[in-house]
Amino acid sequence: MLKIPRTLLLRWTVRAALIVVLLYLYPYFTRVIHLKNFYLNLNQDGSFMTALFKSLAFATISSLAIGFFSLSIAFRLSAITPAGYKGKLLGLLMLPCLLGNVGTAFIWKLLLQDYPFFFKNPGTNFLAMLLVQFWQYGTLFIYLFWLNIHEVDKRVLHYGTTIRLTKKESFRDLYLPACRNLLLLLLGLQFIFSFYEETKLQYIFRSSRGTGAELISQWLHRTYNSDTLINSKYAFGHVTFASLVAVISIVLLLVVLILLANRLYQWYSGNRSVGGRKKMSPAKPVHPAAVSAGLFFFVLVILLPIIYATVRYYHYVPHPVMPLLNTFIHSLAAAGCATLFSVVFSIAARAGWPKILDHFNRRSLFFLILIFSLQLIPPIVLLASGYEWMKSISGTSQFYRSVIWVVGQMVLSFPLLASFSLFMHFNIENRDLNYLNSQRASVFEIARTLFWGPMKGRYLLTLLIAFSLIWNEDVLNSILSDTVPSFISHLQRVITGRMTDYAAGVEYLLVSVFLAASAVATWIYLTSKKNQFDGKFIVTGYPI
């Protein structure tokens, strides 16, 4: 029997997974081949290029500001240890992200609508959006950086204290290297989220071409709707071409941004004059009161908008609430499958390309862009592609369509989960991989020893993020809402349109908050039980 080399097997596993994911875009790729004449009409009224430039500008500013600001806050909160109650409370920083785009848009709509300042002009719109983006994503980034900071080897930190490093030197030489990969990942993610921002801008500000706050995703969406009156095929063709231009732009600028950030990092960490030693005094420990104040400030920042929305707009009115159990079970199943798929993929990738995927570099950047390719596609194209796939599943049984829903969610959540897992696996040392390979350990043993063992906690976090992504996802949930009732579609129905009812909206929001809070509580409970986030496996076989 032909014995397939292990590395080859792992690499083909990865390639097969990528092909399955990209298969979702098959309708899109077939359209790309048949483009004609759309380029002539693309920027007829100038609105396409305006929207594109604004998206690129907003994405750049948002990602740099939120990325670096979150890192600096995490560093200032580093005195908080994971073991204590403050460390557990910090888990609340995950809450806003787990509410999703629609939930966040609803909260901030209620908060901002009475303040005309934010509606004055596009500048104030985008300023408010920066705050909203920070609330939704920046808080999660702070938490992830904080977790990462506590991954730094304690022996190294003791050494830093012994040689009396200043605060800035500690940050530059000890903590920043540990956060580099995560920083670049989060910069990229925030860039993509902001580039394709539509839901919050639309819902909070009713952004439009006329108000000067229209971004590219909204341009594509309204063009698609407008062209649908000709017919859907024409509409898909038109946005296919426009989205191709958008994707090329975002890839180019994303690569530039990440390389620039990486260069900036190299300059900063190599620059000995930064954090200079004019004063030969070591870093003073942060006053506990200051740390507590910082912690409680952020907890308030997270909770106050939710409390305000509830207190101001909620009153009990009996009305039918959608049955949630069906959606919950489907979402849980899909989250489990998506996490497993992404983790297996990233393990196979890490083990199959050990020299490329052991740290962030130009070659691993290319790999990441390939994974991100689905995330780089505009939401309206994902929606239109999904409707094309409906042809193949119409007339099938309800169970089959449920399975398709689960598979579709796995595919759509794959870019984020797989890239997150891949970055986690940068922590795995090549020497450990080589050691186990030399001992002829099976793939399963390698996975269990090097990956599953030390990273169980992080896989749990991935599962929680997967559940939130799927629960709040609004493309596939909308297409297949006849198969799996969509929580987000129900929420959108009561917070927009002619039957708007803010009280009902707050009820649905509280369900989201409850689920998000439960996920956070689960995470805090399980991680505090183990009293550690990850262990490390070194060549000698003794965990640290």
Binding site: Q44, G210, R222, N231, S232, A333, S481, G497
Partner: protein, 452 residues
């Protein structure tokens, strides 16, 4: 390892069983009729007929799918384009007429009724004529010289002048108005009076405003502004009903009337309550309910859901037709998909819903009925907006665009009106640029249609 494999397999099997249990009954002897529409008072009131209809038609199961406007629009078009036949009855607005008929997605009434034995269509002569012609007629796809009836209207919608009764009936206001203008304070019947009243009621120190205008994109500003455009004698295209026209239809927008309308509209800015660009119908009614704004144009189909509670209507507000001689005619029609497996049964339900007795039931539950006689029902007539609604629907005269270029025209006009409001353009320049853009884009759209 064996234990982990067993655990893993057990989890997978449990997951499959759970998924299967979520999928309900798989065997269903009944004929299912699926109805999709935007989640409004229209579909919500129609859903109140479900129990009665199913009890008298035991082999029928009605499934309603109220969706957001976007979802209803995209799902419908996807279903028709891909011929998936998921939806039997589609409740869509008149701008979908062109797409549905041109692409042969839906049956005409003639197709559906010819297979019926003595269908009761006596209600047809009771439909507001302007409404039906505006939302349910279209060119015969084979012959543009003749018209066919494509669908019955599911509602008759218009915009009404909503006013704050307390502000109009306040004796101090009455005396002040009489002193300032020399005439009694009353509802505006002309656009000049409307402007005077907007000015009169605005007092920034007291926090009161004359008007609340819808300035949000997404159709809200477009429909709002059309009232003003027509009020000054302006038009967008040289045709009568919105669905009429073709590539040769003349664009009439660039006129003195349109410039006057835009000047008039932006001239109301000092009297306006709200942020304008984020105000849609719900926000507008919320601002009106604060009790500090004198007048606004309100869609009839949000009045009941916004102002009616278990104890009755919010009696702080009165309604009248908008100033001038014409009123907006909007709404949508029932369309039956050509991919429907049960077009006959679908038509039966529509005929049932259109009977006068059922229209009265629906109107009592919030529907703006397309039948004239519905408004003679004592309960429906007691609603504060009923008389104004009936009067507005009878007079008609303002028809929004409903051709394949309708959304494009909506977006272009919204863009330039918003920019004029914020001072980027002067009204004359805005109208000129909007006209040029509409002409250019119409060429592109009709060329694309020809190619298909």
């Amino acid at each position: 390892m064996k234990k982990i494999s067993q655990q893993f397999i057990a989890i997978i099997i449990s997951g499959i069983i759970l998924l299967m249990s979520c999928n309900g009954n798989r065997t269903n002897e009944k004929t299912t009729i699926t109805i999709i529409g935007e989640n409004t008072a229209n579909i919500q009131s129609l859903m109140t007929l479900k129990e009665d209809y199913e009890s008298s038609h035991s082999s029928i199961d009605l499934v309603f799918k109220p969706e957001t406007f976007d979802d209803a629009f995209q799902k419908t078009n996807s279903d028709f384009q891909n011929k998936t036949g998921i939806y039997d009855i589609v409740m869509q607005y008149n701008f979908s007429l062109s797409t549905f008929v041109r692409n042969d997605y839906v049956y005409t009434l003639q197709d559906l009724l010819k297979n019926k034995h003595n269908p009761d269509t006596s209600f047809e002569k009771d439909i507001f004529p302007d409404t039906w012609k505006s939302v349910g007629y279209y060119y015969n796809s084979d012959n543009h010289d003749s018209i066919v009836k494509v669908g019955y209207p599911f509602a008759a919608n218009t915009m009404l002048l909503m006013y704050n009764k307390q502000m109009f009936e306040d004796s101090a206001n009455k005396a002040a108005f009489q002193k300032k203008y020399g005439t009694p304070l009353s509802m505006p019947t002309t656009w000049v009076e409307f402007q005077y009243l907007a000015n009169f009621f605005t007092n920034r120190e007291k926090g009161t405003y004359g008007v609340c205008l819808e300035g949000a994109a997404g159709g809200f500003l477009y429909y709002e502004w059309l009232n003003y455009l027509n009020g000054q004698g302006g038009r967008v295209l040289d045709k009568h009903y919105g669905w009429e026209g073709d590539s040769n239809t003349k664009v009439l927008l660039n006129s003195a009337s349109a410039v006057d309308a835009l000047t008039y509209f932006t001239g109301l800015k000092p009297f306006n309550n709200g942020n304008f660009t984020d105000v849609e119908q719900f926000k507008k009614l919320t601002l009106m309910k604060e009790g500090k704004t004198a007048m606004a144009f309100a869609w009839d189909d949000v009045i009941v859901s916004s102002l009616k509670s278990a104890t009755g209507f919010d009696n702080r507000f009165g309604f009248s037709p908008i100033p001038g001689d014409h009123s907006f005619i909007g709404g949508g029609a029932f369309f039956i998909s050509k991919q429907s497996k049960h077009p006959g049964e679908a038509m039966d339900f529509i005929l049932y819903a259109m009977q006068k007795a059922n229209q009265v039931k629906l109107a009592r539950n919030g529907l703006s009925s397309p039948l004239i006689s519905t408004y003679e029902d004592s309960i429906v007539a007691s609603y504060p907006h009923s008389l104004a609604l009936k009067h507005s629907l009878m007079r008609g005269g303002i028809y929004p665009e409903a051709g394949p270029d309708s959304k494009m025209i909506d977006e272009v006009l919204t863009n330039y009106v918003q920019k004029t409001w914020s001072g980027v353009y002067k009204p004359a320049k805005a109208i000129e640029l909007a006209t040029d853009e509409i002409i250019t884009n119409r060429k592109t759209i009709f060329e694309a249609i020809k190619e298909k």
